[in-house]
């Protein structure tokens, strides 16, 4: 039964992470294996093909599709400027002349004599892929991207919004159970990653935006404030592309929940250091959790980039309860009874006994706890 447990979030002082940086379409890799890169440095570049504009020339000229080649001024592959003549007919009386102008600047991609369509493509757009973390290039995937490795401290959150960014860590509260209020924000926090305690209200979020923080790391928020921030009700937890002015990472969940001591202590120990953060969350095929990566000094020597694989849960492991009525409480595994037990809903489930710091013990369904992982 050791296999039934929820893998937890990692909070660790020392680990090695590898981040695969991939272009969304083939391009050029700008760095080589062994090079050190900065978070804001371009590591690869690609040209995103321009938008396509179909134009039905046969209709516009009033001719059959298989005749359009006769009327084309520009052929497939030719560059074309906006409002330049693409095709024209040759009437006997010039008053009846029809000219078809290009609606965009680009190239004539193709001409179809079956449908009478011409496809025009706008010039490509250059996409730059940044390093995201300060680290070492350990692999180059030709034309596609790189793998950056860094020795770092790592904190995974439970949920986030907003994409990749970086900034100096600032601890805005004195304790993990303190609410982060508008008065905690100062202008000096512009462009920084601000760490709060148990909760931030909609006023606090507005103030963070006003100050221009790069990121916010907090125990919890109310769902209604998230809705107000996004402007819509989030249906499924697939995030990372939101633009709300900063990247937001929740370490515990929704509601007022003190940040785990371990998380708060770790982040506090790194106040003033540069962190790369991402709010991207995918709780669906391919779980992605938001993360705070605090790189150490870059060295050529690097350890194993993989996390040790856990075999299951053990007595003494630190766990977080992730469902009401004790949501957010942290304790350690006291025992792992193997028999199914009936809980108040009358379901018979596998449980574990959790011991809290005050010595009290409680039985919790195993699926309702999460390991706090990382040394």
């Amino acid at each position: 039964m050791a296999h039934s447990y929820t893998p937890g979030l990692t909070v660790t002082e020392q680990t090695t992470v590898r981040r695969r940086r991939m272009l969304s379409l083939p391009g050029t890799v700008l760095v080589a294996v062994g090079e050190t890169v900065r978070a804001n440095q371009a590591v690869a570049r690609a040209e995103l093909p321009g938008k396509v504009y179909p134009l039905n020339l046969a209709n516009q000229l009033g001719v059959a599709p298989d005749e359009i080649n006769e009327y084309l001024i520009k052929k497939a592959g030719d560059p074309v400027q906006k409002d330049e003549i693409l095709a024209e007919n040759k009437p006997l009386i010039k008053w009846f002349k029809t000219e078809v102008l290009s609606p965009v600047t680009g190239v004539v991609e193709s001409v179809s004599t079956i449908t009478g369509q011409v496809l025009l493509r706008e010039p490509p757009r250059v996409l730059e892929l940044l390093g995201y973390v300060d680290g070492l290039i350990v692999e180059v995937i030709p034309h596609q991207g790189v793998v950056v490795e860094t020795d770092c401290s790592l904190v995974q959150g439970i949920f986030g919004i907003g994409g990749e960014t970086w900034g100096e860590i600032v601890i805005a509260v004195t304790a993990p159970d303190e609410v982060l209020s508008p008065r905690h924000f100062t202008d000096a926090m512009k462009g920084k990653v601000v760490v709060g305690g148990s909760f931030i209200s909609s006023d606090g979020l507005a103030r963070a935006k006003e100050v221009g923080v790069a990121g916010l790391v907090i125990g919890g928020i109310h769902d209604k404030d998230l809705r107000a921030l996004l402007g819509y009700d989030l249906g499924v937890a697939i995030t990372g592309t939101e633009r709300v002015g900063f990247t937001l990472i929740l370490t515990e969940g929704f509601g007022t929940i003190p940040m785990a001591d371990k998380t708060f202590t770790l982040l506090s120990a790194h106040a003033g250091q540069l962190a790369s953060i991402s709010g991207a969350t995918q709780i669906r095929a391919g779980v992605i959790r938001p993360e705070i990566i605090i790189p150490k000094r870059i060295t050529a020597a690097h350890g194993s980039a993989t996390m040790p694989q856990r075999e299951g849960i053990r007595i003494g492991d630190q766990v977080r309860i992730i469902r009401d009525p004790l949501f957010g409480k942290i304790g350690e595994v006291a025992s792992l009874p193997s028999d199914l037990q009936k809980i108040p809903t009358e379901s018979e489930v596998r449980v574990m006994e959790v011991r809290f710091a005050d010595g009290s013990r409680v039985m919790i369904p195993r699926t309702n706890i999460e390991l706090i992982e990382g040394a």
């Binding site: 039964m1 296999h3 039934s4 929820t6 893998p7 991939m22 379409l25 083939p26 938008k51 396509v52 504009y53 179909p54 599709p65 991609e109 179809s112 079956i114 449908t115 369509q117 496809l119 493509r121 596609q144 439970i158 949920f159 109310h222 769902d223 209604k224 998230l226 009700d233 989030l234 249906g235 499924v236 937890a237 969940g253 929704f254 509601g255 969350t281 709780i283 669906r284 095929a285 391919g286 779980v287 993989t306 996390m307 694989q309 992730i322 469902r323 009401d324 009525p325 949501f327 809980i343 108040p344 809903t345 009358e346 379901s347 489930v349 919790i364 369904p365 699926t367 309702n368 999460e370």
Partner: protein
């Protein structure tokens, strides 16, 4: 292992291990031949391991099977290998089979010429093959050409199905769509290096042009037109091609699936396709009209068979864990709150739903939490059926022959095939229905969500094994049937629901139930009543209902009806709450009404009858 072309296994199968790799958990069951019949004996489950850090679906499969090993004492695994065939009474299994919906299932984009004709036919073909349809593009869908191209470019489907035009008809529109797809240069979701599988099932006259335009850019497969003439759909060839390409291309790219395919003794089926096989089999065998539902963590699949016509839809973002927050977004807070029998402030409910979304594997630990999940499930089920009704329709756009008697009955072509009065059976499956602590909870969730009319039987999948049995039926029908009848299908009972509305306490119908022992139970059902009459699974009773004059039981307003009804583990549910079902809008009155109904059927602990 010898598998004939028919898919049937040559050697005898006595021990079978089957898994379903779901989006959250991998469920394994052991089936053994006991005497002359097959029985499901043990089950195990483990988290699905498609994602990092494992990125290998077989890890979860082996973990789930390891649980069966522990429980059964049978040695099935030899390291990372499944021991096949059986070596002795306690070692190995004869075959391993599996279904899969992990990794987001099979995500398809379909195209047609006319949206509600070939577009819908293509959608039905893809859905019937077990896919999630992420978009339907059609020449007349209202989007500008460059918007269509942009959409194809950004969606990254696993596969595209193209349809359009009848055989011998105009080719222009379907060729135009091929040009758009070509311009978009679509790329598959998994794997940057392989070509996107694309099935062309449109006007056969356009095949050469489509081949010319897309032959180089996609892994193009040509098949029969899904709408050869306007009046007829021909979905099977396209569905078969989808299955083939799913195995050949898509599954090869998902993490660990190459290994999984090698481990399995029969082709891996998409989970919904396997459940569909079972639903169709039940309907055919018993000559029933049925609605089946599989409510999962991410999606809700609805299946229906009416007059032999099979349909399936998937509501991709209605589910009880990953998509739970979307149920709230689509149904609205008020619709969920109407099923909660206590006072709860909006903020708490919203936060709880979001916390379930971010930690999808948790289970309700308190009664309040269970009741909230059941409230959300009712709405997910209701919305998914509305979606299904809109797609399970007769063919649209075809001429109907009319007689003089039809003059006053102006019906549009393409009306829904779902007729709740003709419905014989509702089959529920999926965690929240299969694992409800009391079976009556599953029954009432389905009754509240679907509002069956007249007399309808209900059942649930005992422990969620329909996908396993669906794939099993393709290799050994007897084994699948044995286990289905004996271990899988749990008949809950029959719901009798008169159509009509009235004031609470007003007479709805008089009834007389004649039990097998000759005992007769007579009574009056008033509006607002919900009554549970015990009737065991193996018992049948006869019920005569005399509805009030404005009330209908299918034979007309005020017309008496006599029917034979089958019992179940819950019994006979007399539902006098009226159809359509209306709940009081005022909070206290609504809570009082729910409390009355819930205690009338002993729905939760503390409300026992």
């Amino acid at each position: 292992m010898t598998i004939h072309a028919s898919g049937k296994i040559a050697q005898p199968l006595n021990v079978i291990v089957a898994t379903d790799c779901g989006s959250t958990t991998t469920k394994a069951i052991l089936i053994e031949k006991v005497g002359n019949e097959y029985r499901q004996t043990y089950r195990g489950e483990a988290p699905t391991t498609v994602e990092a850090p494992f990125e290998d679906v077989t890890r979860g499969v082996l973990n789930a099977i390891a649980e069966i090993e522990e429980l059964s004492g049978r040695k099935i695994l030899d390291g990372d290998k499944i021991i096949t065939p059986c070596r002795d009474a306690k070692t190995g299994v004869d075959i391993y089979i599996s279904t899969s919906s992990a990794g987001g299932g099979l995500q398809m984009m379909v195209t047609g010429v006319v949206q509600n004709m070939t577009g819908e036919s293509a959608q039905r073909a893809a859905l019937g093959a077990g896919a999630i349809v992420i978009d339907v593009l059609a020449s007349n869908d209202g989007r500008l050409p460059h918007e269509k191209i942009e959409r194809i470019r950004t969606m990254r489907p696993d596969m595209i199905l193209m349809s359009g035009g009848t055989d011998g008809g105009a080719v222009t529109h379907v060729v135009e769509m091929a040009e758009y797809i070509s311009a978009a240069e679509p790329r598959p979701r998994f794997g940057a290096t392989y070509k996107l599988p694309l099935i062309y099932a449109g006007n056969k006259d356009a095949q050469p042009q489509v081949k010319k335009i897309l032959g180089e850019k996609a892994a193009l497969v040509l098949t029969d037109n899904i709408r050869p003439v306007l009046e007829r759909e021909n979905l099977t060839p396209a569905r078969d091609k989808i299955h083939d390409l799913f195995l050949e291309h898509v599954m090869q790219q998902a993490p660990g699936y190459k290994k999984l395919i090698e481990m399995a003794g029969a082709p891996i089926m998409p989970t919904p396709a396997a459940v569909g096989v079972i639903m169709e089999t039940i309907a055919k065998r018993e000559h029933l009209n049925l609605i089946g539902v599989d409510i999962g963590g991410a999606t809700t699949d609805v299946f229906s068979v009416f007059d032999g016509l099979f349909n399936r839809t998937v509501s991709a973002n209605l589910g009880m864990s990953y998509s739970i927050s979307n149920v709230l977004a689509e149904a609205g807070l008020a619709n969920i709150m109407r099923w909660v029998p206590f006072t709860l402030d909006e903020q708490t409910l919203r936060n709880r739903i979001k916390n379930k979304m971010v930690r999808p594997t948790t289970i309700p630990q308190t009664l309040d939490e269970l009741q909230i999940e059941h409230a959300i499930a009712r709405e997910a089920l209701r919305l998914a059926l509305i979606h299904h009704k809109s797609l399970a329709t007769a063919l649209k756009g075809i001429q109907q022959e009319r007689t003089i008697s039809d003059v006053f009955e102006q019906q549009q072509s393409g009306k829904t095939l779902i007729n709740m009065l003709k419905l014989d059976l509702i089959v529920g499956s999926g965690g929240i229905l299969s694992h409800a602590p009391r079976r009556v909870q599953s029954m009432l969730m389905m009754v509240d969500a679907y509002e069956p009319l007249g007399v309808t039987r209900l059942s649930v999948d005992s422990i969620f094994m329909m996908p396993h049995l669906g794939v099993l039926s393709t290799i050994n029908e007897q084994a699948a049937t044995d286990v289905f009848v004996r271990d899988c299908m749990v008949y809950l009972g029959t719901c009798v629901a008169p159509i009509g509305q009235g004031k609470e306490g007003e007479r709805c119908a008089d009834y007389a139930i004649t039990f097998p022992d000759g005992r007769v139970d007579k009574g009056q059902l008033s509006f607002g009543d919900l009554r549970l009459v015990p009737l065991a699974s193996d018992q049948k009773a006869s019920i005569t209902i005399q509805p009030a004059k404005q009330v209908n039981l299918g034979a007309g307003a005020g017309v008496s009806v006599t029917r034979e009804v089958q019992g179940g583990v819950v019994g006979l549910l007399l539902d006098g709450r009226g159809r359509p079902l209306q709940l009081p809008t005022e909070h206290d009155a609504r809570v009082a009404m729910l409390t009355k109904w819930f205690s009338a059927v002993g729905l939760y602990p503390g409300s026992d009858v």
